[in-house]
């Protein structure tokens, strides 16, 4: 990092505010009319210097928050991705898209089978086929039901984390971290400064840590449906009937080939039932449980984060009062 880059956002804002604080301290010193008030100004200047240093480095603290968070999580035996504050919204949006994609694909697949069954069921002759497709849809929806619940919970988490990430990122980019420390100096703005500083202190570490945890969960367990379909397709790749049927549609549109391939895999899976059931149960259940557990962990941790913010805000306010309050000699 070059010296000139220190003038860029958000460091520049922090350094500029720190400079203003120091200048204000000096102005008070030089404008003090009496020796007693000058001594007071000197006393105050020590605090101002500490405040200015804190103001200047808080942006740096915010930038290293993610690595501190990852280290803390690692020390506790939890593996998390290291995500910068500015990337949180993007990462969570990507996770939301991935999870929503899985959810929609799963629902559409189940609906397609069910709808095909309903259409066939309109005729008496084809009613057995309708029932076959209906039971196939029932099979699919039933085993996927817990997974869908886990996906919904994950989606809600990603939305909340993305929103918080957006707030933190904006605060970081516009130097609100530095400003919050600067607000601790004047007594009138000390309380809001304490709350802002506390929020930034806690969530600069906690939010990237939680987001990293959520991202790892989504990465590992959010795409169970795709994994399940791939496993099924691999298992059925050598099924002679499926391959023969698919070969009839070589010249068909791609979407039709894809749909038929999926249907052929589903039928092939039904034909090798014990494999399908045990494979699906293992694959879906482990991912589902881990997503659910992660969802609860994140909810609890975020709640605690807000409680600590409140606790720390009081402490910071008291500390700031002790540090920056002018003592009349």
């Amino acid at each position: 990092m070059g010296i000139t880059s220190l003038l860029n956002l958000p460091y520049g804002i922090g350094i500029a505010i720190a400079g203003i604080e120091l200048a204000w301290g000096l102005i008070k010193y030089y404008l003090a009319p009496t020796p007693g008030q000058r001594r007071e100004a000197v006393e105050e200047f020590y605090g101002v210097v500490i405040g200015a240093i804190l103001t200047a480095v808080v942006a740096y603290y915010m930038s290293i928050g993610p690595s501190i968070g990852a280290s803390i999580a690692g020390a506790m035996g939890v593996s998390v991705s290291q995500i910068q504050l500015s990337d949180i919204q993007k990462v969570m949006y990507g996770d939301f898209n991935a999870v929503m994609g899985q959810y929609i694909a799963g629902q559409v697949f189940g609906f397609a089978i069910s709808a095909a069954g309903a259409v066939l069921g309109a005729t008496q002759v084809l009613r057995p086929f309708s029932a076959l497709l209906g039971s196939l849809a029932g099979f699919y929806n039933a085993i996927m039901a817990p997974y869908y619940r886990a996906l919904i919970a994950t989606m809600m988490n990603t939305i909340a984390l993305a929103a918080l990430g957006q707030v933190m990122s904006t605060m970081y980019n516009y130097g609100i971290g530095s400003l919050s420390v600067a607000l601790l100096l004047p007594s009138r703005t000390r309380r809001i400064g304490a709350w802002l500083s506390s929020f930034i202190l806690v969530f600069s570490i906690l939010l990237p840590m939680v987001v990293g945890y959520q991202h790892v969960l989504v990465f590992n367990y959010g795409n169970e449906l795709t994994m399940w379909e791939n496993t099924l397709e691999q298992h059925c790749a050598n099924n002679p009937i499926a391959q023969t049927v698919l070969s009839w549609f070589v010249n068909a549109p791609t979407w039709l080939q894809g749909a038929l391939g999926l249907l052929a895999s589903a039928v092939c899976g039904i034909a090798s039932l014990p494999w399908l059931i045990s494979n699906t149960a293992t694959l879906v259940s482990v991912g589902t449980f881990n997503l659910l557990e992660g969802d609860i962990v994140i909810d609890i941790v975020m709640g605690i984060g807000f409680a600590i913010t409140a606790w720390l805000a009081d402490l910071i306010e008291a500390g700031a009062r002790a540090l920056f309050e002018v003592r009349h000699l």
Partner: protein, 492 residues
């Protein structure tokens, strides 16, 4: 999650926070600003001591209480749910295959029943998995509970401290209780799943070709289940593919038939659901005449042998209830309500052919109509007789009186997986009824205890803080003289 790491992480975090806080009090407030920090220092040192004491109690607890270190496997619960659900769904699938379009009302009813079972197990499994997940999350939080409580004690009069005290106490109290609750749910779900657990995941459809008097009631046995169905010739039945199959009885009109059977394996294996054909040949020990009309069977009889034969003696059946004899003495076997004739008849009851009671399908009574209609359990108006009819120099009409009707048909064969699906809910209901009181008690206990202790702790926070402040005062006043001596010895 590594619980030892979490525990030491909590210790390190606590020591770090208190060290920073106490250093801040002493250096910034005390030395730099020259403020009176006595009360704050007493509170901080007391809270820090309380934290150390609580951690030294919790550390051995964490490694000794089994419920705290071994959360049940939530993944296993969901996996078992998926397996039971998948097999139940396959039962629907198989049912759709073997029923004719005219019988589809049965399919829709069965589908509704199975959906109900799936919904119930799904709810139970989800609740269990969520409780276990909550417990695992709380378990990770548990070692930090003393830290939250200590932080609250250090600065008791702040709003944030009340929240921290609540969270800390809740984690401390709720973790073991939720752990107990999750174990209870796990046991209940495991009991339900075990009661419902299918013998295997391999379901087959077996074709049945029956040759013999009908409609016949066929009983088949597999390793874990016995199933029955009625047949007039051909039909399909669902079976467990992983278990061998024996035909254990063939009955017709409550009479146990002699039978032989074999299974023709499927000629090709492209459709693995297809399990081949069960060929059954059944007959009475003799070629009996069935008393039968368009509505069903009403008994049977057979002229076993001619005991005496005079000149121009003759005997022949006129229809399926009447036999004509002249100048003969004939021994009949009959399965009928009675016998009459215009000649000398000697009737003796016999048990020459074994009879059976019809138990019907082993499913819950409410599901029995889905399987079809079965004969009454015991024969009504039947006697098994040996009749000696003698007609010397006369013509004799022997008339067999019909018994009560043998009837029945099968819509859905109550065999293998279908019987399992329709009998399982009974186990489930019995199992849950015996456990439900425990569940209600558990919920209430956990809720009330957690809420009560948390509220009490919050209310007592100022008084507890006074206690820890006294503790801090004792420690500080004890250390201060020592520090004075040490600081005199230090060169800086």
């Amino acid at each position: 999650m590594n619980y030892t790491s979490i525990l030491w992480g909590a210790v390190g975090t606590g020591v770090g926070i208190f060290a920073i806080y106490i250093a801040y009090l002493v250096i910034v407030k005390g030395r730099l600003r020259g403020m009176n920090i006595t009360r704050e220092l007493y509170s901080a040192v007391g809270a820090f001591t309380a934290f150390i004491i609580m951690m030294s109690i919790i550390t051995p607890l964490l490694s000794h209480l089994p419920s705290l270190v071994t959360p049940p496997s939530g993944g296993w619960v969901l996996e078992q749910y998926d397996i039971v659900t998948a097999v139940l769904s396959v039962v629907k699938f198989v049912t759709a295959l073997i029923l004719t379009p005219e019988e589809f009302t049965t399919y829709y009813s069965l589908s509704g029943v199975i959906n109900g079972i799936i919904g119930f197990i799904g709810g139970l499994a989800y609740l269990t998995a969520m409780t276990i997940a909550l417990y695992k999350a709380l378990l990770a939080l548990f070692p930090f509970a003393p830290l939250f409580i200590s932080l609250a004690l250090a600065r008791p009069n702040k709003p944030g401290s009340i929240v921290l005290m609540g969270i800390g106490l809740m984690a401390l109290v709720a973790t073991p209780l939720i752990g107990w609750l999750s174990s209870l749910f796990y046991k209940i779900t495991m009991g339900v799943v075990t009661a419902l657990s299918p013998p295997c995941l391999d379901i087959k459809i077996l074709g049945v070709a029956y040759y013999g008097p009908g409609p016949a009631l066929v009983t088949i046995s597999q390793a874990t289940r016995q199933g029955v169905f009625m047949t007039n010739g051909t039909r399909y039945i669902p079976i467990w593919g992983c278990e061998g199959l024996q035909v254990s009885q063939v009955a017709w009109d409550w009479l146990v038939l002699n039978y032989s059977y074999y299974i023709l394996p499927p000629g090709f294996s492209i459709i693995p659901l297809y399990g081949g054909i069960l060929m059954i040949n059944a007959q009475l020990p003799f070629p009996a005449v069935a008393i039968e009309n368009s509505t069903g069977v009403y008994g049977a009889w057979f002229p076993l042998r001619v005991l005496k034969y005079w000149r121009n003696g003759t005997g022949y059946p006129i229809n399926d209830t009447v036999f004509y004899i002249r100048n003969e003495s004939v021994l009949f076997w009959a399965w009928a309500d009675g016998v009459g004739g215009n000649c000398s008849l000697a009737v003796n009851e016999t048990s020459m052919v074994k009879t059976t009671l019809v138990s019907g399908p082993m499913v819950l009574p409410m599901f029995a109509p889905l399987t079809g209609s079965y004969p009454p359990s015991a024969p009504i108006g039947y006697r098994q007789m040996l009749i000696n009819a003698t007609a010397f120099n006369e013509s004799c009409i022997v008339v067999f009186e019909p018994g009560s009707r043998w009837s029945g048909y099968t819509v859905l064969p109550a065999t293998g997986p279908v019987e399992w699906a329709l009998a399982g809910p009974l186990n489930l209901v019995i199992g849950l009824n015996s456990q439900w009181n425990n569940v209600e008690t558990a919920f209430t206990t956990v809720g009330v205890l957690t809420a009560a202790i948390t509220l009490l702790g919050i209310l007592l926070l100022p008084y507890l803080a006074i206690g820890t402040a006294y503790l801090g005062a004792i420690i500080v006043e004890f250390i201060s003289p020592l520090w004075g001596v040490i600081s005199q010895l230090l060169p800086f």
